[in-house]
């Protein structure tokens, strides 16, 4: 019997489930778990003879289908050739707004994060944007972000075909309802119930008293994560891969 599924492994598996059906998924800088989730979907589809998934990892030499430089990702999204992408966020609010810049007042934010990266663009053009934030707390999931790097919803004078699809943390999974502009609790991870989520989420959302539990990977999927996926991650995320459970 192998070591039990870790919280990170559950998130990696959940990401692979959220990506089901995509043909092309891209993963930005500094995103080892989203990268692992995309790689896992690719591996599972290969194993099960389902459709081929194109995975484009920014910063990778091996897992990179682009040849036109970093701008190709954005062009590709604009052309409708990219189905899914990930955004993090120091703060995420109940309207799906994302803050990657910092807390407090701009420009002299007392806490400053790296910056908005491509969020203000990709959020409009990629159909399935998965919000990913490990920390589930009143600090990270707020009523209203201090700075909008990328807005969750937009009026009809602006071209938009993309936006938030789901929000995944280390405690729960939400879906995003675009019409309503609100999140809906889908499931809580093992070890958490709906009260924990309510107590640690700073914004209002639907289906508060959700009783569903996030599905866990089976043994063979877990073995895939600990074997092939861990190896594939090493190129771009040697430290992260080194800290994962796995052989050797």
């Amino acid at each position: 019997m192998s070591e039990a599924c870790t919280s990170r492994e559950l998130m990696i598996y959940t990401i692979s489930r959220l990506l089901k059906g995509v043909r092309h998924v891209a993963v930005g800088q500094s995103s080892p778990m989203p990268a692992a989730g995309a790689m896992l979907l690719r591996a599972l589809n290969e194993r099960d003879g389902r459709e081929r998934v194109q995975v484009s990892i920014l910063g990778s030499v091996k897992h990179n289908s682009f040849t036109g430089g970093a701008e190709e990702l954005f062009d590709c999204a604009a052309q409708g050739r990219l189905d899914a992408f990930f955004l993090g966020g120091g703060q995420i609010d109940g309207q799906g707004n994302v803050n990657l810049v910092g807390t407090g007042d701009y420009p002299n934010n007392p806490v400053r994060w790296p910056g908005s990266f491509g969020s203000a663009y990709l959020y409009f053009l990629v159909p399935r944007v998965i919000l990913f934030r490990e920390e589930h707390s009143l600090r990270s999931l707020v009523e209203r972000v201090d700075f909008v790097s990328a807005p969750g919803v937009t009026d009809e004078t602006v071209y938009r075909r993309g936006g938030p699809h789901a929000l995944l943390t280390n405690a729960a999974l939400f879906s995003f309802e675009r019409e309503a502009g609100r999140f809906r609790l889908q499931s809580t991870h093992r070890g958490y119930d709906w009260r924990d989520i309510r107590a640690t989420t700073g914004f209002a959302y639907d289906n508060e008293q959700c009783e569903a539990t996030t599905p866990m990977p089976d043994e063979t999927t877990l073995a895939l994560i600990r074997g092939r996926i861990r190896e594939e991650l090493r190129e771009c995320y040697p430290q992260f891969a080194g800290n994962m459970p796995g052989p050797g």
Binding site: G59, A70, E71, V111, P114, G115, F240
Partner: protein
């Protein structure tokens, strides 16, 4: 047309106050060259990150060389946030022009194509837009009902980056890092440090030519072996994660930053 110089000479050719375009981390200005800029106390730079910055940018900020920073992000990757950058933001010691990656590319593309602006989708509703006086919301000239952002051209005075190889004619191989090609096209001059200099023209092999920046864009080349250390060089050698970690820890305080810069000089 291309001058072949020493790294020291190249550092001297970059004046205080210029608009300096930098490629991302794993193709960015050689950290060793950045240290030479710091040693000669370069000041008042307008740094354009194309489109994000790393340790090089953090070092320049820490040394007080940057007046204006135009970027979509500054990060040390796996080593976390950029400490000198965060400190300068809090202190208000740099003028910030926050951006989003494709808007930087759109601005560089405008300069590449010699037009004053470029339209770009998205962005509307982002506070990034609110803070930029060189971006505007306009309407699509072919459909009044659609609002769309236009961004101004970005033309750095000097693009500075580290690449695997130049030839003795001044052509530089960039491979598929086309955003570095864009940066060079958009800038008035390109200064390039390289691992090695080939005697054979890089344009000779038709299969390779597509990834080569022609000499007409390259003002100066300097050979600097292992110049990408410790941030790495794409498709050539990886970053030295321990060294970047060491920097990240040291730079948490201004004193630690000074000690790192002085202590590591000999290693460069």
């Amino acid at each position: 047309m291309t001058d072949f110089v020493t790294p020291q000479k190249m550092a001297e050719m970059i004046p205080s106050g210029c608009k300096l375009g930098l490629a991302p981390d794993d193709y960015a200005a050689a950290p060793g060259l950045v240290r030479m800029l710091i040693d000669r106390r370069i000041r008042d730079l307008h740094v354009v990150c194309a489109p994000i910055g790393g340790m090089q940018v953090d070092m320049l900020i820490g040394a007080g060389a940057v007046a204006t920073l135009e970027t979509s992000a500054v990060s040390l990757g796996e080593a976390g946030g950029a400490p000198c950058f965060s400190r300068a933001v809090r202190d208000g010691s740099i003028r910030l022009r926050d951006a989003t990656c494709p808007a930087v590319f759109a601005g560089l593309t405008a300069a590449e194509k010699g037009v004053p602006f470029m339209p770009i989708r998205g962005i509307i509703g982002s506070d990034v837009l609110e803070k930029r006086d060189d971006w505007k919301v306009t309407s699509n000239p072919f459909d009044d009902s659609e609002k769309i952002v236009v961004v101004s051209a970005i033309q750095p005075d000097i693009a500075l980056f580290h690449a695997p190889e130049a030839d003795r004619f001044g052509n530089v191989r960039l491979g598929r890092r086309r955003e570095v090609m864009l940066l060079a096209h958009a800038s008035k001059k390109a200064f390039v440090t390289v691992e090695r200099i080939s005697d054979v023209s890089l344009l000779e092999d038709e299969k390779m030519a597509a990834g080569v920046l022609p000499a007409i864009y390259v003002s100066a080349v300097a050979q600097l072996k292992n110049g990408g250390w410790p941030t790495g060089l794409y498709a050539e050698y990886p970053r030295d994660g321990q060294e970047v970690e060491k920097y990240a820890r040291a730079a948490r305080s201004p004193e630690g930053f000074q000690t790192y810069i002085q202590g590591s000089r000999s290693a460069a």
